[in-house]
């Protein structure tokens, strides 16, 4: 019944993973990825880092199902917010600047 105590070894490992991830993302930022994948690479590294923090530093991996649902709900509503906003802003041909093709935000 009592709580799970994460061993120090795991904390140290996660810490080193996070530092390596930071170094990796800086190095990757100066490299020209094909098809402008730089943002995808940067966000992938950031998401992996954040996942490690949530699972181990924040103990979610050892937490109850209820905590998992709460964490998942945050991502779910973030998804709704982004999806609905962009489905609006990116489908307004009448707001598009005729010469540059850029969407004008009011």
């Amino acid at each position: 019944m009592s709580e799970h105590i994460v061993p120090v070894r795991i904390y140290v490992t996660i810490f080193l993973v996070l530092l390596s991830g930071t170094a990796l993302t800086v190095v990757a930022a100066f490299y020209d990825f094909p098809w402008q994948l730089n943002t995808v690479v940067a966000l992938t590294i950031a998401t992996v880092k954040a996942t490690f923090v949530v699972l181990y530093f924040m103990h979610v991996r050892y937490s109850s199902r209820l905590i998992w649902v709460i964490v998942a709900s945050a991502l779910f509503w973030m998804g709704i917010m982004f999806a609905l906003t962009f489905s609006d802003y990116r489908t307004r041909p009448w707001d598009r600047d005729r010469t540059s093709g850029i969407v004008i935000i009011y």
């Binding site: 950031a46 982004f82 969407v103």
Partner: protein, 248 residues
């Protein structure tokens, strides 16, 4: 209430509130409550990330130009500082769980110092932006947004804004609105976190936490890690997005 007369077996730990069955339930309720709060925080920062994504995808060249003006070294160092502080915070929780008070307090103090280091570096960065007239709008009286723009063929000046093709100063200003809103809100969370850590250190010195009762350390730890996660996303999105246009 005559709790003084009852035995510990009946009423349990001195920190057990009367509306909980036992320490386990109390701890889980506290952690759950903190996570619900963090969900609202995720949505709060999510709105700003949304604004960032929208404007960046609309003005890509200007956002890349503005981002390249930020100091990548200071940003990377601050990321390291924050990750290290997250590690020491996790260790503070660990030492509380196993009942080692001296290393626990040491970890909390180190976490606080690292948090303050982060804020110090951030202040240096803000001052650089102030000197280069990059504070957006007229937030600072007498120092409106008015950066010097690097001319083509002139020697490179790090204090001047280097505009990539298709970029404009007005759209760069939009980047700096978002930059100051996001990093400012993040810094505010760090200041609040530093206050919470001070509270933890004082209560640890008074011996209020033990392996049975350490929810405050645990939930403030969750808060601290959350603030770290926000920065993990802010660093690449604000500092690194346009670097690959500039090399060579």
């Amino acid at each position: 209430m005559t709790t003084q007369a009852t035995t510990p077996e009946v009423h349990g730990h001195r920190s057990l509130q009367h509306h909980f069955e036992n320490m386990e339930q109390q701890r889980e309720a506290g952690t759950l409550g903190m996570w619900v709060f963090l969900v609202t925080e995720i949505m709060f920062f999510g709105g700003m990330f949304l604004a960032y994504t929208l404007y960046r995808s609309t003005y890509p060249a200007s956002f890349a130009s503005a981002s390249n003006h930020l100091d990548i070294t200071l940003g990377a160092v601050n990321t390291g500082v924050l990750i290290l502080s997250s590690f020491t915070m996790a260790m503070a929780v660990y030492f509380t769980q196993v009942g080692k008070r001296r290393p626990q307090i040491l970890c909390l103090v180190v976490t606080l110092l690292l948090g303050l280091t982060f804020l110090g570096v951030k202040a240096v960065e803000y001052y650089d932006k102030y000197e280069d007239h990059l504070i957006p709008g007229r937030l600072i009286p007498g120092n409106p947004f008015n950066p010097a723009v690097q001319e083509e063929g002139q020697p490179k000046d790090p204090h001047k804004l280097h505009l990539l093709p298709g970029a404009s100063v007005r759209q760069v200003e939009m980047f700096y609105w978002i930059y100051f809103a996001m990093t400012g809100m993040h810094a505010l969370h760090m200041v609040i976190g530093a206050g919470l850590l001070t509270f933890l250190i004082i209560f640890s010195l008074r011996g209020r936490f033990d392996p049975e009762y350490h929810s405050p350390v645990e939930v403030i730890g969750l808060y601290w890690h959350f603030v770290d996660i926000v920065w993990i996303f802010l660093f690449p999105l604000l500092y690194l997005l346009g670097r690959h246009f500039e090399h060579g």
